[in-house]
């Protein structure tokens, strides 16, 4: 019955709105005919930027005075790094439980963060046969650039690399990937825009196997994690790869370091859909710290594998928890 009630309510609302709308429309037309006026935006005074100082000194000073102020400062520092309120509160609790006058709060915090992030891990690629790396993420997170850099890196390690351009949705995605493939000396398989991504992957696996490639990296269209049909499409890509005779060895989620708490929702949705094995944290060359990966690791157990630090062909590195923690501490 709900569906009927639902539809009826919506129609009713729309209908009533239309009845009331004639006056609104007249007013709108009147306004449209009026001469244009200059825009004056409302001004809300921006607070003065805080002086940059190292956490260590600030917290140490506060701690020496004692009191909760120090812990609040620590909490706020984590919040500014996008760690998020709950993960930040948990972290501060852990540090607080271990802290004594003799201990260094900065080192404790670093240790706790490294502990959460787990041991640094490498991409797992098979010693024999074709390894398939599926790269997924929301629009604009940096998938294509990451693939270009990764292809170059793997090629530099002496592997033969193939790339599948399965982003058949975005305009010129294939052309962008092709430029990167040339830079990396990788072989690329793509089809025209609007083609079925599954068929691209099927062709790519077949051709990579035939050429004796070591790795096939699959680029996928950016998709918001809330769009179910698009998430289903990713599962299909995995199935097609298996059908073509290879299995996905790594599924990398590309996460923009400027992303806030929505990163948790992204990681959850992609993990549920395609079993994400690792995260590539991109755009770490800006001011963003990417603290949300702490919450992602805690809640989902997905490790960070690689970091992107620029648009240059070599701006990709294995993730190091210690360096990451230091960036958060140095604010």
């Amino acid at each position: 019955m709900e569906i009927f009630v639902a539809i009826l309510f919506v129609c009713l609302a729309v209908g009533i709105v239309f009845v009331r709308l004639s006056s609104v429309r007249k007013e709108a037309e009147r306004l449209r005919d009026e001469p244009e006026v200059e825009i004056s935006a409302p001004t809300i005074e921006a607070p003065a930027p805080e002086p940059r100082e190292r956490l260590g000194t600030r917290v140490r000073t506060l701690l020496s005075r004692g009191g909760t102020e120090a812990w609040e400062a620590l909490h706020d520092l984590l919040l500014k790094a996008d760690v998020g309120p709950s993960a930040a509160a948990r972290l501060v609790e852990r540090v607080r439980a271990r802290w004594s006058r003799e201990a260094d709060a900065e080192s404790l915090l670093r240790e706790e963060m490294v502990e959460i992030l787990g041991p640094d891990s490498r991409l797992s690629l098979p010693d024999e046969g074709l390894g398939v790396i599926l790269v997924v993420g929301v629009n604009g997170s940096g998938k294509t650039t990451t693939i270009g850099k990764l292809a170059r890196r793997l090629a530099g390690e002496g592997r033969t690399v193939s790339i599948a351009g399965a982003d058949t949705f975005r305009a010129a995605a294939g052309e962008q990937l092709e430029v990167w493939a040339v830079r990396a000396g990788a072989h690329i398989v793509s089809q025209e825009r609007g083609a079925d991504p599954g068929s691209v992957v099927f062709d790519a696996v077949k051709s990579a196997v035939a050429r004796g490639s070591d790795v096939l990296i699959v680029d996928t269209a950016g998709r918001l994690h809330t769009k179910t049909p698009l998430m289903d499409e990713l599962q299909k890509i995995g199935r097609v790869a298996r059908k073509a005779g290879a299995s996905v060895t790594e599924t990398l989620l590309v996460l923009d370091a400027t992303t806030g708490q929505n990163g948790i929702a992204q990681a959850k949705a992609f993990t549920e859909a395609v079993n994400v094995s690792g995260i590539v944290l991109t755009k770490l060359d800006g001011t963003a710290k990417g603290g949300v990966v702490l919450a992602v690791r805690e809640e989902l157990g997905v490790p960070v594998r690689l970091v992107g630090t620029g648009e240059g062909p070599d701006d990709i590195q294995p993730f190091r928890a210690e360096i990451f923690a230091n960036r958060i501490l140095a604010s």
Binding site: A13, I16, V17, N139, E175
Partner: protein, 452 residues
Amino acid sequence: MFDTLTAKLDGTFKKLRSRGKLHPKQVDNALDDMRTALLEADVALEVADAFLGRVRTRALSEEVMKSLTPAQQVIKVVRDELQATLGGEHVRFVVPSARRAVVMMAGVQGSGKTTACAKLAFRLKKDGRRPVLVAADLERPAAVEQLFTLGREIGVPVVSEGRDPVKVAKAALKEADRKGYDVVIVDTAGRLHVDEEMMRQARRIRDVVKPDHVLMACDAMTGQDAVIQARAFLAEVETTGFILTKLDGDARGGAALSITAVTGKPVFFAGVGEKPADLEEFHPDRMAGRILGMGDVLSLIDKATDTLDADEAKASAEKMLQGAFTLEDFLGQLRQMRQLGPIQDLLKMLPGMPGGKSAFKDLADQVDENKLRQAEALILSMTPDERRNPGIISGSRRLRIARGAGSTTSDVNTLLKDFEGARKMMRTMMGGGKGFPGMFTMPPKAARGPKR
């Protein structure tokens, strides 16, 4: 899109409402809850604290504390301040029409500049302007090709002559003047605000094209970094406003609050999908209402006026008020509503009680798109007579209908029973045609039409 923040604030307000008299300590507890909610929604720390500070001062004033309904007053204060933080009044995006105008798009990598340029061009073209797109992003591989493709799709010319973005922009202005294009939209490369050289380049493009607007594309999913970026772009290229992109996901949209609060520049548009038409005007008052779960009936109106026939919609609403609609009407309505968007989303736009959650949110959660499709198939399998008068549906007709829709007779029975139930329920609720008291009353301010 603001679901989670709404849910959080709901809980906080419920706690407040359950008390008759307010103690300052209770207000502080509520504010603490709210701080967590805002930070989880990615509101910048400094903006959240400034916002809560203002709410606290006003909430603890004598006027509020001594009023008969202090909790309600606090909620009102929150709503007012939220709207103020989102930029106060809606600011209309105006480009001069008496001469050739220029709009420059800027932002960090992956914020959605190129898509936003195409959507803006599409919108201006629809408004009767003659826009031209300039591909001045020469950094990202194939960015120029991307804009050319998008331009072809929306029927807007694209120019990109030269190897230096400043020269490309300069040449484009000349071309526009020669060919009589009246709005030049310049897409630029994504650049990090810390990249001094690239920021200087943006400044040079700005100096050459002398834009009427510099729009910064800002990803709605951005966290605390949003305010740092927004300030840097404001300082370097004098941003005049924002386009908030990717708002069709589940981003809690804290960036929307933060960037306006720290720059004083309005959000003009929100990107809400992948199609050229998926660019909506941004209304702070509506957005504030949405955050607090007050529904967004005004956005629904905008959608409806764009897609539906007014007279038809009026007529069917009247039928509904009299409880005289049939399965045929229902089918027509279902198809019309589908044009507006997923039914769940529409339901969430309907208003509930102030400060409470939308009355239709639970309903929205129960609507199953598969069931909807099944119902549609069953109704389509009926003859027009059967749709108008379900009473004539006998056992054999039931079997035929079920077969036609690929389901069972028990599904047909459920459908008919549910429809009758819904019809009865609507009749009771509408009190025989008098309507829902106050339910669809528009706020008087909003009824005055678009603001500038």
